[in-house]
Symmetry: C2
Subunit: 336 residues, 2 copies
Amino acid sequence: MRIAIDAMGGDLAPREPVKGAVQVSRENPELELILVGDRDQVQAALAETGGSDNQIRVEHAGEVVRADENPLQVLRRKGNTSIGRVAELMKSGEAEAFVSAGNTGATVAAAVLSLRLLEGVRRAGIAAFIPTAHGRATVIDVGANLRCQPEQLFQYGLMASVYTRVILDKPNPSIGLLNIGQEDAKGNDLVKETHCLFNGADINYVGNLEGQDVFMGAADVVVCEGFVGNVLLKVSEGLAETIMILLGKTYGREASLSPEEQKTIKKSLQWLHTRTDYREYGGAPLLGVNGACIIGHGRSDARAVSNAVRTAAKFAGLHVNQHMIEEMHRVTSARC
Amino acid sequence: MRIAIDAMGGDLAPREPVKGAVQVSRENPELELILVGDRDQVQAALAETGGSDNQIRVEHAGEVVRADENPLQVLRRKGNTSIGRVAELMKSGEAEAFVSAGNTGATVAAAVLSLRLLEGVRRAGIAAFIPTAHGRATVIDVGANLRCQPEQLFQYGLMASVYTRVILDKPNPSIGLLNIGQEDAKGNDLVKETHCLFNGADINYVGNLEGQDVFMGAADVVVCEGFVGNVLLKVSEGLAETIMILLGKTYGREASLSPEEQKTIKKSLQWLHTRTDYREYGGAPLLGVNGACIIGHGRSDARAVSNAVRTAAKFAGLHVNQHMIEEMHRVTSARC
């Protein structure tokens, strides 16, 4: 399995993507990795991790899309960006999947421009795992498509349920629609119409969900517009951190804990941290493009990158796209 | 101070609103409360709490707007709903503030229809407190206005900063705009234009916030569309509960805690529960209407209702609306 990695993507690039590539290649001898980015910088980072590796090759791309740049403008203007190049490697068949923790908008734009959408798909959406009281749920979309149409949200639900079934090995995942109330009449026009589309289809739809239901694990797949999903995902990170600060510092001070009590609290918070750590979740696939594209968190470190590479390999190896195409043929939406 | 309470509003009505009214009136002899709802049911609930009280009178309203009904249609069709009646009591001057934990859409509609908006205000918005690592933040809007215009979000920021300053006694509160990235170019058209309006005004604007920043306390006021704010608020409740389940059950089982360790974890979770409990936050005001209207959580119990009544008294007593009108005159928005 050959996987291309945007070595310049993310706040900690190129060091951490390169380190992550080295780690994951050592543990997975079947992987061949292509690190794409500024050759000198990538080689230097490789040397830092203990030298090169015959599973890894470096492909030069001299330009980078920064976080504050407009993705489409930049991709058109700059000739050889690392993110444009990884998408091209996938298109030409030199890579079977790619991973980037760079500018999300640029990654989505490069993937859609190079790979195009799967037949019948209207928009690509990013599916991310979040922790719940019962394990994890898949949220789609977390930032590819900020303002959606009902039919797009409907397709997101189908694609993410297939992804969840195949990748988490969960039979017949339930689908819920994020709304501001559970009743049919609740919400804006977008969610009301989407609710109607889901209700009329032969799928495991459990209806409208409210914010508090999401983390209680009320559905395996949570569907929402990209703006809302992005807030949801990031809030979940922030709140977990906040709770750790509150319990670790404020409570510790207020309750005058004994050394033993402090130790107990600390151990439980470490456990919670692991349980809710985005680095463990292996990146988020861009569903709907004709290829395997895994988007990493902007703060990705080596562990996050290596987990994202594992997800990419699994996504391509288990033929998720083929299963999604079959599901989209099987399910027809109602008229609303 | 006379305050009208929708005794039929919320999942636990009329028992809990009535119980809350009795509690708060005993502790605050200066309050006169009007319980509005089905006379027989309200009298029965009053009898249950230990009889009537000369600070409390009952006003009959025979109809209720249920959670699954369309607010505007119902208010037009039903003649004497409890929510319509409390708003009318405020309009006529018989009450100086009102509290309802019923159908939020109906409360907003009744308030706006009866009381009208403050001069110059385009839309009313609900402002709710959420816990942060540094205390609390005010989120506006959490569900009155699901799809907003930039000028509406701009006014929300001004109104909520005044509310936060007066009610939390916090000088010059900072205002942040909820977005999917911190850079100027991030977000949909709505947030980009709102960001420009805030940037051009003489206010304490700290820029775009991402989801994780909100609970870290990056701004005192967080501005967003009602759909997003509603999800944010409810997610914060759900995630806090989820974390308590995870730490209390899953971690307890996995870590085979000793009785002492279990006790420590339990105590810390109880503390966290108090710290993040919406019942402590005293309801959420509908800012922008010409009156004092406090909206309670649908699950409000007696404590939540009594705290909401306290907020209503404070809102009216501190003349929050007058301060908001002055701020809106002081601040002019840029052209974007």
